[in-house]
């Protein structure tokens, strides 16, 4: 098998794709919480994606992405047997996995995939794991059965209430009625912020995975800087996990939108097929 060859693809939900890729060196070293940088071609950007699985025996890693921008949509069109141009990893610090007691895991959207890895590891470390998975609408939910099998209890939530609870408000009652020793949250920044506000009154240590804009992803450019407890931290080398109760989410949301106009332009031109790059 060739390096970075796509072994398997699966559409988990509309526009959410899982790729299994041959990358034996990364597969051997990867741990829950780490990410990779994917480049699809010579002219491509460096896209950070959280690792959702690894199999050192097969030499493969798994990641899941949302087909939203130009690069992820191009990536989504690739087929098994094709090779990704370059993958660097595993990057970032691995998650702290040990016995905490009772852990609340909250995952939203595409980050449900790496949360499965997290839940599995926490469970193996002897924790009682209560999991929440959420999405905008029920069609975008995935890994329900897998998550159910691994968790002691599973809650499902959607923004529009089309499946399970509507939003995360139900957690107020959960948190009021039982004690958690730790909370792990992965998902969109707005969701992370909501979870942190819910756990704050109970002083539950809440670990959030941040994926700010990155370029190199290995401690060079500083674009992934995040204000954590008044200190400047870099998502790539100090993170990606931080104490959610002291993260400046407002600033992070603004920083994530910095290049929105350019990202839209790039996607639009690609859709129109008008740019000279020929789609690669």
């Amino acid at each position: 098998m060739k390096m970075y060859e796509i072994v398997r693809t699966e559409e988990l939900a509309p526009k959410i794709k899982l790729f299994e890729v041959f990358a034996p060196e990364i597969a051997k070293k990867a741990k829950p919480g780490q990410f990779i940088i994917v480049i699809i071609g010579e002219k491509g950007e460096r896209v950070p994606l959280t690792i959702a699985g690894y199999d050192a025996g097969k030499g493969t890693i798994t990641f899941v992405f949302n087909e939203v921008g130009k690069t992820t949509r191009q990536l989504g069109m690739m087929k098994p047997g094709e090779c990704i141009w370059n993958i660097t990893g595993p990057l970032g610090n691995p998650s702290e996995i040990k016995y905490f007691g009772k852990v609340l895991c909250v995952a939203g959207g595409v980050m449900i995939a790496p949360m499965l890895l997290q839940v599995k590891a926490l469970r193996e470390a002897g924790n009682t794991v209560v999991t929440v998975i959420g999405a905008r609408i029920k069609e975008l939910l995935f890994f329900k059965e897998e998550m159910k099998a691994l968790s002691h209890r599973l809650y499902v939530a959607t923004d529009d209430g089309s499946e399970g609870y509507r939003g995360l408000d139900f957690l107020k009652d959960v948190l009021a009625s039982e004690k958690f020793d730790r909370c792990v949250a992965m998902g969109p920044v707005a969701m992370l912020q909501t979870v942190c506000e819910l756990t704050r009154p109970y002083k539950i240590p809440t670990i959030v995975t941040l994926m700010p804009i990155m370029v190199d992803g290995m401690g060079m450019c500083g674009v992934c800087r995040v204000n954590v407890g008044g200190q400047m931290k870099f998502g790539c080398v100090d993170g990606p996990e931080f104490d959610g109760h002291i993260v400046d989410f407002e600033e992070l949301i603004k920083r994530q939108r910095m290049f929105l106009p350019e990202e839209r332009l790039s996607a639009l031109l690609w859709e129109l097929g008008g740019c000279s790059c020929g789609g690669k």
Partner: protein
Amino acid sequence: MAESESKPKIKKKAVPMPKQPPEVRKHNFNEVALGYTEEQALEEASRCLQCPKPQCVKGCPVEIDIPAFIKLLREGKYEEGIRKIKEKNSLPAICGRVCPQEEQCQMMCVLGKVGDPVSIGRLERFLADWERAKGFTIPEKAPPTGKRVAVIGAGPAGLTAAADLAKLGHEVVIFEALHLPGGVLVYGIPEFRLPKSIVQAEVDYIKKLGVELKLGYLIGRTYTIPELLKDEGFDAVFIGTGAGLPQFLGVPGENLGGIYSANEFLIRVNLMKSYAFPEYDTPIRIGRHVAVIGGGNVAMDAARSALRLGAEQVCIVYRRSREEMPARKEEIENAEEEGIICKFLAAPTRFIGDEKGWVKQMECIRMELGPPDESGRRRPVPVKGSEFLMDVDTVIIAIGRTPNPIIQRTTEGLAVTKWGTIVTDENGKTSLEGVYAGGDIVTGEATVISAMGAGKKAARAIHEYLMSKK
């Protein structure tokens, strides 16, 4: 022969370097300095006095036999000339362009006392460009030693160490964390000062020496140094990972949109080629009024890149005066010729954003110079109550970099200074057996040539270590 007989006439003026005119070049990313023609090179070479006790060599960090290569050049023996340089320096096309010769070899040139020193760098570049145009000759390699060396980082230090070790017969694998080789030569120094095709040619030469290049391998993560030595079968490791993490000012508003570290800005533009967005996928946004904070070469590179990307006005804000600026004089002149404004004795105190979180103004305070600090330069002291506002929509912070922490954090037993640089002896040996280091990761931010010098020394030390080891 002839030189000793007739007394040479001293030519005080150097042959000027042909350049793209400022009005033209500020709109493109092509190389500014065009290089001497053969005629110009011969003319400039004829100015060398061929001193019996050459001072210039003392100024060269890698001790190139400068009078000897210049003599060969003016005799038309270009092949021998470039070989003379390459005895000491495997990357002459790069050094001829980016070395601060005015502080090194050319500062020592005796002609400098009566006029312009010999333009040694330009002559080095001429020979290197001549060689590249005709195609490289691969030097003979020593027979294989059966020893394997891992070189971490494909920048100036790593490439030099790799080339030397390969020539000595060792099997060399370079692990580069980025997706392209070259390190700072590719992600940092812009195309208009060092065309990337030249870096590529030098890398190709090193590959022809048999060096294997692995891209996208972050050592400390994909493999740790102990794993390279224990599990991957390497007998020695050279760490040349450079200066990484950008420094910030630590003033309010620094995380607003439109504020880049110079590293981010230059990586986007140079490595990711965002000047060609959307053909290339990585975007960059340049406003109309750009402020660059800092006074080094990186600040000049960032300012001149911003101008080429279409900024209306680019202003360099430096807290000391022109005399203390660490950038090369030539680069300051180039920048000013292109219309970049330098504002001296001022430093930002805070950034003010608009409702969307984008920077719109920068508050600065005026400085005056106090007594010299530990760097020997006069220390800037803020003038109370002298704050003023500048309208800006892009800010690039170019005040230095600190070492990347990943290797230090993942290598047990590796001695590190309080600044995070790796401790070595004068030959690059670290506290761990078989592990050597050199370049910015040891010295903190310095020059390309000093990194190459360190790579060379370490290669020699690694060779001795490997050959003495059973």
